[in-house]
Amino acid sequence: MPVRIVHTADNHIGIPYHSYKGDDRVHQRLVAERIDALQRLVVEANGRKADFLVVAGDLFDRISVPARDVDATVRVLREFSGEAVLVLPGNHDYYDGPAAKLWRHFREAAAGSTVRLLAEPRVEEFAVDGQHVRFYPCPCPSKHGEESRIGWVAGVPKPADAVHVGLAHGNVEGLSLDAEGRYFTMRQEELAAAGVTTWLLGHVHVPFPAAASGGSPAFFMPGIHTPDSVRCRHPGHAWCIDIAADGVAAFEQLSPGRVRFARIDKTLRTGADVEGLARQCGQLPAADTVLDLRLDGRLRAVDREKCETLVRSLRGAFLSVASEDTIAHELDRTELERIYPVGTIAHRLLARLIDDEKHPDAAWLAHELLEAEDDE
């Protein structure tokens, strides 16, 4: 009978979210979401009667994460009802010796529970309903490292009747861009040559394999469990994997995240573009979405007003809206004729600037300048 493992990684509990400190409500929601999503995952794992909950690195955002965050995290992990929670230090929460404050505190908090820190590269063996399961943890000793930590696994004898699960944290060649090779990069052939049934990895924030793919993947990457920034384009994932001695029997993607980050880069030229932006925003789950608008382009006054109205309405609906508004004002000929009498210096100046394609913003700037002069 296969063992069932819920596999997560890159939870980054303790992200400070400095950019959002100006809004307590949003900041607290984002900070809490890191642990809330983990809580949802533990509940899901218990519901699925998982045997193991594996955290393949970067459970914490950094090694100096506050003790209260460690305590809260351990409290959540303690609720797992399976055989054990196995926590591997990643490159953000690396293990650099027994004196490491983070992990010393973690061990103390987890004492007497099934939550176990895998800080040494040595085999951890379990038996679940008669099935032997051997984990091969490869913890990170620092934030960066040029060589992978999995080299020792290949040399360990592996009984045929056991399930062998490698646990490691780092980049996988071909899976993400790490041109400098600073994140313990593992080659896929190196993973395959280690002789384990499969690898449960962490570090790359995008899931692998694709959710619908079948077979017995050589490794799994769960991706971040709930989005942490606009760089995360998926809703947050984890894996539920059934593994037998002869390979991966089944796997299913879980989505414990709730908060979304959405960045919309849009160039606005017309009122129709503004309406398109409104429709695009309307498709997002506003209450749970941190919206980052990067708007540029050029709008006439009437469309600009429409856009500002839209952004105001979005601020009321979304969890948070950040807007880098670099939309230029468009002064068109109609407006020019309306505002400035033909033949005036102002009219002549602006008429030429409107036609100047190399300086599309110059006409509006000149108009603002003229208005300011007029006010004086």
Binding site: S64, P141, V342, G343, L349, D356
Partner: protein
């Protein structure tokens, strides 16, 4: 003025109807006889036709709008907005006439006051409204004619209108604008060096974020500083992270090494004494083993060395005897080689001797003419030659003819007489100096010249006789022959002398007989092998002797050394047994001592490693504390700042900087254009107006036509090189031109003030494409002024009134 509503109550056939007029485009759709023209007239009369009229005047001006058949008055109420205030104008013509204007809480009564206020709010006169701002369908086509023929006080020239507008509203002094722009540009670029794309230098010193400018920092530099500070922060965090990695790795390595070395040192110290003893025993054993081996070798070699010496002595004597025999043979062989050379020389002497004798014989057998004879013969021969030449100079050529054949005796010169037959054919000849011919009884003697020929002939005869005598004495035929004989004899004499010299040389001072005796002695020498074979054998024998002697010396040396060391063979054997016993005892001791740890060849190597590790470990705790302190410091430096967040902030700051740069450049461009405009001077308002009409016309026709103007009125359409007079345009072209003229004039007259225009079915003569474009133009106009659009065409109404772009 913007219309809000108009009520006709009554006016014409309309008893009481209100037309709402809100919005920039007011579309009134209705079939013919609906009252559209009535509405247009109502608006016009309400704004311009006085109510203060006599019944006759009223009947003439507005009487046609009194309800038929018996109406005596007409009333229009217009609600409009002007200057941000909503006004209500009520005008009643005919019976009970009155004018009333209400707004802003006041009521203006009285015809003159009302009309004056309305005029102020409109900003134009009745003719302008009639000719420009309001048109029926029928009047539209004659717009150009009407404008051209308007009275001077009816419609102000458009140039004046535009100049006035330019002079009063919305303009700005160019100097003031230039100053403002200069200030704004300075505020942007202050302290920013565009060539370097960096802050200005301060006396050659950089003023980056480490030492930033404080005063007069422009917008661009401020944005740049902000961006650079984010970048520096990003780099600092990355640097700290890298340093933290390095320190963490070093600390981990250090701790691992400390642990490993401590174990090594602890166990190593326990081994140290045993290994020292081992070192001593090993140190003793090595020379003992060498000595034992040397003794064993001597013991084995001593007897055989002695035997070898004896054998070598015998061999050396044999080789020496062999060498002596070979040397004797070699001497004999050399002497035979020398005798062989003597024989060859004697052969040469014999040949030379033979040649010398032959030469002497040749001299003896050859006669040599006497030198005196040869000399006289030479002189006589010269004289003969000379005399002969002189005789030849007197040569006579003769011819003898006889009628009858006969013989004659002829003597030519000193030649002997000869008988010559002559006849009729005659005979001829030559004679030297004298000819004597005797024929029969006649003897003819002819002598040439005056000299005595006889003397010459005698001299010649004597000399020839003497020459013959001398040749005989020389035994020669000619003088040359005699001379050759002299030379040949002299050559033989010289040859005999050389042969004799050669013989003397080869004899080398000895007699020929002495040489013959030496040759006879050679035959007596013994026979031998060749010298080369003897020499090779001799060389091999000598080398053998050297080798044998060396081998003997070596054995002899060993024996002498052993005697010196061990005295004799028996003593040597005793010493060997004693040494082997000692070695065995030391090896037993060595087996009891601790072995050298794995990985080390010798105790010394182990002690060296132990010492190295003890030294290395002594300083490590201090270094570990140092690294741990650094690690904590770096962790504090990094804090909870995330590079991802800082990258985002840096990206924002960079974009803000780029915008500031672009804005600065835009302001510079504005100033540049302003300078161009200032240089160009004031614009010609009529030309500006003409350009606008032309652009509107092209907007409707969709072509690239241009317009030719007569003052402010277009009189022809220029299409390429052709010019089509306005009167020759199609109905659609005429309508389009009239419409754009009205729109352009309306914009000029209304200027920046809100106003309205009334258009009654202006598109009926336009095809679908032009209508669509005309709708666009009208809607564009409606963005600035109100358009009251009256039509009986539903599609026109929809096009003008509906939102979005006009239908194609």
């Amino acid at each position: 003025m913007i219309l809000k509503s108009i009520r006709l109550h009554p006016f014409g056939n309309t008893a009481d109807r209100t037309y709402p007029m809100s919005g920039p485009v007011v579309v009134v759709l209705g079939p013919n006889e609906f009252g559209k023209s009535t509405l247009r007239q109502a608006i016009h009369h309400a704004l311009f036709t006085t109510t203060q009229q006599t019944p006759k005047q009223a009947e003439k001006s507005v009487g046609r709008w009194f309800p038929r058949p018996d109406g005596d008055h007409a009333v229009v109420t217009v609600v409009f907005e002007a200057g941000g205030v909503e006004w209500t104008l009520v005008k009643r013509w005919g019976a009970g006439h009155r004018s009333e204007l209400m707004g802003a809480g006041t009521v203006i009564g009285g015809e003159a006051a009302v009309q004056q206020r309305i005029g102020e709010m409109l900003g134009h006169n009745e003719a302008t409204a009639r000719l420009v701002l309001s048109t029926g369908q029928a009047e539209l086509a004659s717009t150009l004619f009407a404008i051209k023929n308007a009275k001077a006080d009816e419609l102000r020239p458009v140039g004046d209108v535009m100049t006035a507008a330019a002079g009063v509203a919305g303009d700005i002094g160019p100097e003031k604008l230039r100053a403002r722009l200069t200030s704004v540009i300075k505020a942007h670029f202050s302290r920013w060096n565009r060539q370097r794309q960096a802050p200005e230098l301060d006396n050659g010193m950089e003023r980056g974020i480490r030492k930033p400018w404080v005063n007069d920092v422009g917008t661009i530099l401020a944005a740049w500083y902000h961006w650079q500070r984010r970048m520096e922060e990003l780099e600092a965090v990355r640097r700290a992270e890298r340093a933290l990695d390095a320190v963490t790795a070093e600390l981990a390595t250090l701790q691992t090494q400390m642990a490993e070395d401590s174990d090594f040192i602890r166990s190593g110290r326990l081994l140290r004494d045993g290994l020292n003893d081992r070192l001593l025993v090993v140190a003793t054993l090595a020379p003992w083993r060498a000595e034992s081996a040397a003794m064993a070798e001597a013991s084995r070699g001593w007897p055989s060395a002695l035997t070898a010496i004896g054998t070598a002595d015998v061999r050396i004597e044999e080789i020496k005897a062999s060498i002596a025999a070979l040397e004797a043979e070699e001497d004999a062989a050399r002497r035979r080689d020398a005798a062989r050379q003597t024989q060859d020389h004697v052969d040469l002497i014999v040949a030379a001797r033979r040649a010398a004798l032959a030469a002497e014989d040749a001299v003896r057998c050859t006669a040599r003419p006497a030198d005196a004879d040869v000399a006289e013969l030479g002189r006589v021969s010269e004289r003969i030659k000379d005399t002969g030449n002189r005789l030849d100079a007197r040569k006579l050529a003769y011819t003898v003819v006889s009628t009858e054949p006969m013989s004659a005796v002829v003597e030519e010169g000193n030649e002997a007489e000869r008988v010559v037959p002559i006849g009729p054919a005659g005979g001829s000849g030559n004679a030297r100096s004298r000819l004597r011919l005797q024929a029969g009884p006649v003897t003819l003697t002819v002598t040439s010249g005056e000299e005595d020929v006889d003397v010459l002939l005698d001299t010649l005869r004597r000399d020839e006789q003497r020459a013959a005598d001398l040749l005989r004495a020389c035994d020669a035929a000619t003088l040359a022959d005699a001379q050759v004989k002299v030379k040949q004899h002299d050559a033989l004499v010289q040859s005999a002398a050389r042969a004799k010299d050669l013989l003397e040389t080869r004899l080398q001072g000895k007699t020929f007989e002495a040489w013959q005796e030496a040759v006879a002695a050679i035959a007596m020498l013994p026979q031998t092998r060749g010298t080369d074979a003897i020499a090779a054998e001799l060389k091999a024998a000598r080398e053998k002797l050297v080798n044998e002697t060396s081998a003997r010396a070596l054995h002899d040396g060993h024996v002498r050394e052993w005697i010196a060391t061990y005295k004799d063979q028996e003593s040597l054997l005793d010493a060997l047994v004693a040494k082997r016993s000692a070695i065995r005892r030391s090896e037993e001791r060595l087996a009891e001592l601790p072995a050298v740890p794995e990985g080390f060849q010798t105790p010394q190597a182990f002690f060296a490693e132990l010492g190295r590790r003890e030294t290395a470990n002594a300083g490590r705790p201090e270094r570990a504390i140092e690294l741990a302190t650094q690690q904590q410091q770096l962790r504090d430096d990094v804090g909870d700042r995330r590079t991802v967040e800082i990258e985002e902030e840096a990206g924002l700051a960079k974009r803000a900087f780029e915008r500031a740069c672009q804005e600065g450049r835009d302001y510079e461009r504005i100033l540049e254009v302003l300078e161009e405009i200032i240089d160009e001077g004031e614009a010609d308002p009529t030309a500006v107006f003409a350009a606008k009409v032309a652009s509107y016309f092209r907007a409707i026709t969709g072509g690239d036509d241009d317009l030719a103007f007569d003052a402010q009125t277009p009189h022809a359409v220029r299409r390429g090189a052709a010019a089509i007079p306005a009167g020759f345009l199609s109905q659609g072209g005429t309508t389009a031109l009239a419409l754009v003229m009205r729109l352009a004039l309306a914009e000029a007259h209304l200027g920046g003030c809100p106003g309205f225009i009334v258009l009654d079915d202006p598109f009926v003569d336009l095809d679908a494409d032009r209508r669509s474009r005309a709708v666009g133009l009208v809607r564009q106009f409606a963005e600035r002024h109100q358009v009251v659009f009256l039509t009986c065409h539903e599609s026109h109404a929809q096009d003008v009134g509906r939102p979005g772009p006009p239908r194609a």
